[in-house]
């Protein structure tokens, strides 16, 4: 079980309360009508799936119901940090 720090509730909660929502920091093309198919496909389908440090979007589904980001090591499962949406990670490698 992860013990996850929710940056909105400002305390650790059990993983059971959370839900993972995939990779973080995926910006939607600002003008979808005029972007290329490649840009759109990359936004919709393509993800990094790295071995090591990964920035993920999670939601505190059974708590405050807010989204936030987690920096997690996909090899060790260690959570390096959690931060609010709109902020940038401090751990990048």
């Amino acid at each position: 079980m992860f013990d996850i720090y929710c940056p909105h509730c400002q305390e650790h909660r059990e993983e059971e309360e959370f839900h993972a929502s995939g990779e973080a920091h995926i910006a939607r093309p600002l003008d979808p009508d005029n972007c290329t198919d490649k840009e759109w496909a990359e936004y919709i389908y393509f993800r990094k799936n790295p071995r090591g440090i990964h920035h993920e979007l999670w939601v505190h589904a059974a708590g405050c119901r807010k989204f936030f980001n987690i920096t997690r090591d996909t090899q060790t499962y260690e959570i390096k940090e959690t931060y609010k949406v709109g902020q940038q990670p401090t751990v990048t490698e």
């Binding site: 909105h8 509730c9 400002q10 305390e11 909660r13 059990e14 059971e16 309360e17 929502s21 973080a24 920091h25 995926i26 910006a27 939607r28 600002l30 979007l57 059974a62 708590g63 405050c64 119901r65 807010k66 989204f67 949406v85 709109g86």
Partner: protein, 222 residues
């Protein structure tokens, strides 16, 4: 979810919102989510003394208010209407029979006596301005008070959240998992907790609480 947030600034026309009294004093007969359990009979026929006391507090007025803590008109307006400031994370406030719980960074749950819900909703709408919302959710949830010497043990059986004194002082409120459902748990006293539960889960959670309390001696009050 995108990190690029595009904001449009528009001068909004005054929005007329239809508000209605959802908890009428007379007229349609109201039934609590636990109406079918006939708690009055259970209370009469059951134990009169025990380690755990359960009481449904039905027909209260539940109002969800939302807005940004950076909007001072919202924060001060809410305080003026409620008589108590909107509390910070995991805190609650109480002023007479008006209580307010922190739910999320931009969301609070206010509970008032049922007959006062409509007046409170209008007072909040009048006092607050900006990008705010007030929604009457009285019909969607109910309140169960859990108290007694063994109340904490019932909570320990029901939720993974740490309910020890060190982590859960009086006045704290958490939304967390409860049995196989969820509840807003608020500590109202040394030996008393308040659970705000969804209407659709009320029957399940009541049966769960009855079962979990049995070993300590369950007293049901109305």
């Amino acid at each position: 979810m995108s990190d690029a947030i595009v904001e449009k600034t528009e001068v909004a026309a005054p929005v007329l919102i239809q508000v209605m009294n959802q908890v009428p004093a007379a007229g349609p007969r109201g039934e609590s989510p636990l109406h079918h359990a006939d708690l009055a009979s259970v209370a009469r026929q059951g134990n009169q003394q025990g380690g755990v006391t359960l009481q449904e507090v039905a027909f209260l007025g539940h109002l969800v208010i939302r807005g940004s803590i950076e909007n001072s008109d919202f924060m001060s307006g809410a305080e003026k209407a409620l008589g108590v400031a909107l509390p910070g994370p995991l805190q609650s406030g109480q002023q007479g029979d008006v209580s307010v719980r922190w739910i999320a960074p931009d969301e609070w749950l206010v509970i008032v006596p049922g007959a006062e819900a409509f007046a409170m909703e209008r007072a909040l709408r009048d006092a607050m301005s900006g990008h705010v919302a007030v929604v009457n959710v009285s019909g969607g949830q109910t309140v169960i008070n859990l108290s007694g010497a063994n109340a904490r043990e019932v909570l320990m059986k029901s939720t993974g959240y740490d309910v020890h004194d060190n982590n859960f002082p009086v006045g704290k409120v958490v939304t967390t998992t409860f049995a196989k459902s969820q509840a807003v748990i608020r500590r109202t006293g040394e030996q008393s907790w308040e659970l705000v539960i969804r209407r659709s889960f009320a029957d399940y959670l009541w049966l769960w609480l009855q079962d979990a309390s049995k070993e300590f001696g369950l007293v049901v009050r109305t």
